[in-house]
């Protein structure tokens, strides 16, 4: 939907003069309303992005002592890709699995809240958001306790043979993906709920009247109508999960580290700013490309 549709003049009108001054005033209002957000984006997104892009092209032989020169050293990108390809692929793999798991968990949950919860609806929504009342870090640390080697989860799984007797859950890929799924589940559930909740139930009834089975009605009516929520939910889960490093840091080992861990260490420990910036930029571009391909395929133009 474009702004023009709402604030533009509604075609030629007999009373030209008043309409024109109204449109001028409304245009100024629109600008004023947009200005704070635009300024915010400019100062805190556009400028730092340019700075980051410049940093990623610094001469890598620089150091803190000697300073860095901007030499358009594109090689930085190839260098980091060569060294950290594994962590890149792992980030997208883990984030992808976590997104699918969150969808499998979140869709039935959102469906139940939207259609079946009755007077418990508000309570259930609060419960979905409740984990946000504690910090992200604490929630992840709690998983360390839950998945501990001598904890009851591992013991029970060992008893039924799902985990080998000398195996463990903590410090494995399973733990990292579990942590990612858990931490981003509300981001999946809430947009799905918002979409599902808006669906007019009479449409589903109409489908039944036309002899569709429950499954067909879901596939042909409910699912397509919930697509905006599904797309928004998967994006809100996948994008932060791909850049996350807390879960890998706390629940994984060096073999599970993701690209976020590498970026963190390049900026803060190794102090290799060109490489760190190149990594950040690559991550941004990769996510952008994936998201654009996904949104195009999902065909939900009204979202963007």
């Amino acid at each position: 939907m474009s702004l023009a549709a709402e604030v533009g003049p509604a075609g030629p009108t007999p009373a030209r003069q008043p309409a024109r001054s109204r449109s001028r005033r409304s245009r100024r209002t629109a600008l004023l309303l947009l200005a704070p957000g635009a300024l915010w984006l400019l100062v805190f997104f556009a400028l730092p992005t340019v700075q980051l892009a410049a940093t990623s092209l610094y001469d890598p032989s620089g150091s803190l002592e000697t300073g860095y020169a901007l030499t358009f050293h594109w090689q930085n990108y190839l260098d980091v890709l060569a060294v950290y390809r594994d962590q890149f692929l792992r980030s997208f793999l883990y984030a992808g699995i976590a997104t699918v798991l969150a969808l499998l968990l979140g869709y039935p949950l959102a469906y139940a809240i939207a259609f079946k919860s009755g007077r418990w609806k508000n309570l259930m929504l609060v419960l979905v958001i409740a984990p946000f009342f504690t910090s992200f870090l604490l929630r992840t640390l709690a998983w360390q306790a839950i998945l501990a080697d001598n904890g009851f989860v591992v013991d029970s799984l060992k008893a039924v043979g799902l985990v080998p007797t000398d195996g463990r859950l903590l410090a494995t890929p399973v733990a990292v993906v579990t942590g990612l799924t858990y931490n981003f589940l509300p981001f999946m559930t809430l947009p799905l709920y918002a979409s599902l909740e808006k669906i007019d139930h009479r449409l589903v009834e109409a489908a039944h009247d036309l002899y569709s089975s429950a499954f067909t009605a879901f596939r042909k009516v409910t699912l397509p109508l919930s697509m905006p929520g599904l797309v928004a939910g998967t994006l809100l889960t996948f994008i932060p999960a791909a850049g996350d490093y807390i879960n890998a840091e706390l629940l994984g080992t060096p073999k599970e580290y993701m690209i976020g861990n590498v970026i963190q260490s390049s900026f803060l420990v190794r102090l290799d700013f060109p490489q760190a910036a190149a990594l950040s930029f690559l991550l941004m571009i990769a996510i952008l490309v994936l998201v654009m391909a996904y949104v195009r395929r999902a065909g939900t133009e009204e979202l963007v």
Binding site: L3, A4, A46, A54, N150, P254
Partner: protein
Amino acid sequence: MTSRRPAPPGRPVPPGLSRRSFLRGLSAGALGLAGGGLLSACGVEAAQQTTDSCTSEDLSAEEAMLNFSNWTFYIDPIKAKDVSTLEAFQKRTGITVDYTTDISDNAAFFGKVRNQLADCQPTGRDLFVLTDWMAAKMIGLGWIQELDKANLPNVEANLLENLRSPGWDPERKYSVPWQSGLAGICYNSELTKEVGSFEELLTRADLKGKVTLLSEMPDTMAFMLRVVGADPSDFTADEFGQAIERLQQAVDSGQIRKFTGNEYTRELKSGNVVACEAWSGDVIQLQFEDPKYKFVVPEEGLALWSDNMIVPNKATHKANAETLMDYYYDPEVAAELAAWVNYICPVQGAKEAMTKFDKSLVDNQLIFPDESFLANTFVFMGLTSEQEQDYQTQFQQVIGA
């Protein structure tokens, strides 16, 4: 920096504001700003400072205050009954100390202050405590003020002999040790038998996946260098490469679960980890809770390190900072601090002072080591900035980042 001005009032205004024209305007503005940003982004100046390029003013005479940044749990707490060493200092000298525990990691703290120090700007801190290699790096960058020895008579008299001339500050012109400590091995004696060496830690099959090492590069690499037969206080790039390779093998085989900071104590308590590389003071505190945790002097020896008090450029209370340093080198004060902190006390005479109020720790080699015990320790070589970046990169790539 340029920015788009709003249209002057008298100009004709096109009807309506479409999203397209707004976006066009926005991107033009962004380009303008970005152009300005690009100009300022043409590289970064050198961070090196000298006494000429960055002079600091000392307002200690007028302002009786001090901003002191330290690590968490690194000073005796303020207690209801007794007076803490810091309170006593404030009473004795009239200097108000703003004590902050905002250091938990050398590298992260460096990231926090580097922009200011590289630009010769104040950090808001008069005194902070950093480990040898990081203190060495900051001194090398010219970010640290030289101390006035005339204000430090206690330090001159009581600093332990073997801490007086580290390679990176041979005359202790810039730094005074706060506490020293040892890195060795800690194991849980209820869950495993004694672990006597790093070689065992890296290879014993029953420890597989239940071992952590420290994420501080000098601590861990000192031992790895010993394992491959090199001297951590004097090694070549080749030897470092061999040590890294050895570490990589241990990571690949799944022997090592993790590289950690202080949080290895949590992993030990939960039983996830049964043996690890550990800092002496942590182990003493663990032993207060449960004597099943044992500290071992590995066959390879012990890594000795110090955390040092240093005064950054542009700190405005250097004389006050020196007063505090000197205060903590009074043996009585040092003994009280050591009784709580449990690391190696760098002050001669503190042991005798401690016998007066607490005999239980006096014979602990990890707090008051004797000559023969110290003969078994080694100190990590001071590194140039390039070496540090190179070695840190190799190390970080092995530990997964």
